[in-house]
């Protein structure tokens, strides 16, 4: 299982796959705090990172973990942390700092039941809106979800690429089922992977403006110690990185950090479609639930129901175009979630008006089963 070279077929747990994905993406710094069900990510990286010349550190809490990875990121590292609900709550403070300083980093949240200590070892999807709006202020952020062990690997690589390319924190929402599932997967060889690294400035250091706008809206990023002395602050700042309260500059800054995500929409927004060509009723799902949904769609097809599935990989920015198309195509859309409707709210929001958005919610700490979705599909067709 150790040798992940070539198209080696290995048996991996979801959490382990996230760790290997991070390593494949070039992650060389990890700070974390133990929490079920995300601890395996720390465990694997504590063993593997030093071998690869990277650094692993177990901090005193999640606030510190997030602080450390932002610090490491500003010093040039590709950094990641992993946690679950309660830790995710603590991370929010410095996640906001990562947003405003545009520090590339990846945060993995292996979701468990909440609120508070909640259901430590049970599955849930209750942190979806929190991932989007958890830290205060109107900030842009990218949220990806994973549903299988192979996705754990590939989406983690993708998350690092998005983080580095757009200078943004990227959140990966896994869940207890995905995290603890062991599956046989084919790991791609390092040569097969597309890796993106942040763009460093090339101008003379006197000319460097750490937050200058450009056509990508993503400023070139110098690391501490590279000769581009600059100021990094959690205050709203001007192009040079110094605090400002001038309405014009504040507006410019906040607009730009939103724009960079909008401009990257085509690269950031990912989804998978299954049996959608002629679908008349479809399921929109994400995370482990999308696998129940896939099973349900297969069985529904066997029963003659023209069902389809849209699996959302990117949750935020919300894949409006994909969902909009599905809503136009199908009269009924079922959104199964292990919460009281955090994505169905988004689906309803983008509903052009004539589609029926049906929620299927389960909040008992167990995975939604294929039968439950199938039942809806058959009844609502």
């Amino acid at each position: 299982m150790e040798n992940a070279d070539g198209q080696k077929r290995v048996l991996l747990q979801g959490n382990e796959a996230i760790a290997y994905g991070a390593l494949a993406a070039g992650c060389n710094f990890f700070a974390g705090y133990p929490i079920t069900p995300a601890t395996e990510i720390s465990e694997v990286l504590s063993e593997k990172l030093p071998q690869e010349g990277g650094t692993f550190i177990q901090m005193e809490d999640e606030i510190a973990s997030m602080g450390a990875i932002v610090g490491a990121s500003l010093a040039g590292a590709k950094a990641m942390t992993a946690t679950s609900g309660p830790g995710f709550s603590l991370i929010q403070e410095n996640l906001g700092y990562a947003c405003i300083t545009e520090a590339p980093c990846v945060v993995v949240n292996v979701m468990r039941g909440g609120p508070s200590t909640g259901l430590p070892t049970c599955v849930a999807q209750g942190d979806v809106q929190m991932a989007r709006w958890g830290t205060h202020g109107d900030h842009p952020i990218v949220v990806l979800s994973v549903s299988s062990v192979s996705e754990c690997f590939s989406i983690t690589v993708k998350a690092f690429n998005i983080a580095e390319k757009f200078r943004t924190p990227v959140i990966i929402l896994s869940d207890e089922v995905v995290g603890h599932t062991r599956e046989s997967v084919n790991l791609p060889s390092p040569e097969e992977l597309l890796i993106f690294d942040r763009i460093a400035p090339t101008v003379p250091s006197d000319w460097y403006k750490p937050y200058a706008n450009n056509n990508r809206s993503v400023p070139d990023m110098a690391s501490f110690g590279d000769g581009y002395r600059h100021h990094v602050t959690g205050l709203v700042h001007d192009e040079k990185g110094f605090p400002t309260q001038k309405p014009q500059e504040v507006k410019q800054f906040l607009t730009r950090i939103h724009e960079k995500i909008t401009k990257g929409f085509s690269e950031i927004v990912l989804h998978k479609a299954f049996e959608m060509e002629d679908a008349e009723i479809c399921v929109i799902a994400y995370g482990s639930v999308s696998r129940s949904a896939q099973r349900a769609v297969k069985e529904a097809r066997q029963q003659g129901v023209k069902a389809g599935l849209i699996q959302l990989v990117t949750l935020f920015p919300f894949p409006r175009r994909v969902v909009d198309a599905a809503l136009r195509q199908c009269r009924t859309v079922i959104v199964p979630e292990m919460n009281f409707g955090q994505i169905s709210r988004e689906v309803s929001r983008v509903n052009p008006g004539d589609a029926r958005v049906v929620k299927l919610n389960k909040v008992d700490g167990t995975l939604i089963t294929p039968e439950e979705i199938l039942h809806k599909l058959v009844n609502l067709q």
């Binding site: 207890e176 603890h180 599932t181 099973r295 089963t369």
Partner: protein, 172 residues
């Protein structure tokens, strides 16, 4: 076992398990799905083979087995076997008496289940097992596995009833 089937046999496997306090004792469970196609729903829907190492586990999970599923129990601990379509092997006792360590009871069971399931190449199972156990314990674990396989070979599955509910179901 998942490693053997997934990595060495080249089939698709998917294993989930219960976590938390119960994983340290009592009715913990691990589920394994084996398929020739990619697996969608990661959990087991209906179980073909249930291995119960304790009475509590047997009671809790027995009802998830298929009507023609096979129940394998550790007869050291499971006293009430809820079906006649069951294989009772005293894994813990074998481990204690033949190998000398109760700890390897699950390896004995793995050997038996590997054999009884018919889903795994037994050579691969041994290879996968040896690649995962701590150094210095290979022989003990191999012996345990082989003891399990040997024990299971003595079982004649065809002698068991076809379904746990009853043969009449097949006639309907």
């Amino acid at each position: 076992m998942a490693d053997a089937v997934g990595a060495y046999d080249g089939k698709h496997v998917c294993q989930t398990q219960s976590y938390g306090p119960e994983a340290r004792g009592g009715k913990s469970k691990a589920e394994l799905v084996i398929s020739n196609e990619p697996i969608d729903y990661p959990k087991a829907l209906q179980v073909d083979l249930l291995l119960a190492m304790t009475q509590a586990a047997c009671d809790a999970y027995f009802y998830e087995t298929k009507t023609d599923g096979l129940l394998v129990v550790d007869s050291t601990y499971v006293e009430q076997i809820p079906t006649s379509r069951a294989v009772a092997i005293p894994f813990t006792k074998i481990a204690r008496q033949d190998i000398g360590r109760e700890l390897v009871a699950n390896m004995v069971a793995l050997g038996a289940v590997g054999y009884l399931s018919g889903q795994v190449d037994l050579k691969h199972l041994e290879m996968a097992l040896l690649s995962r156990v701590p150094k210095g314990t290979e022989n003990m674990n191999r012996d345990a596995l082989q003891a399990g396989i040997a024990e299971a070979r003595r079982i004649d599955l065809s002698a068991l009833p076809g379904s746990i509910i009853g043969d009449w179901e097949n006639e309907v």
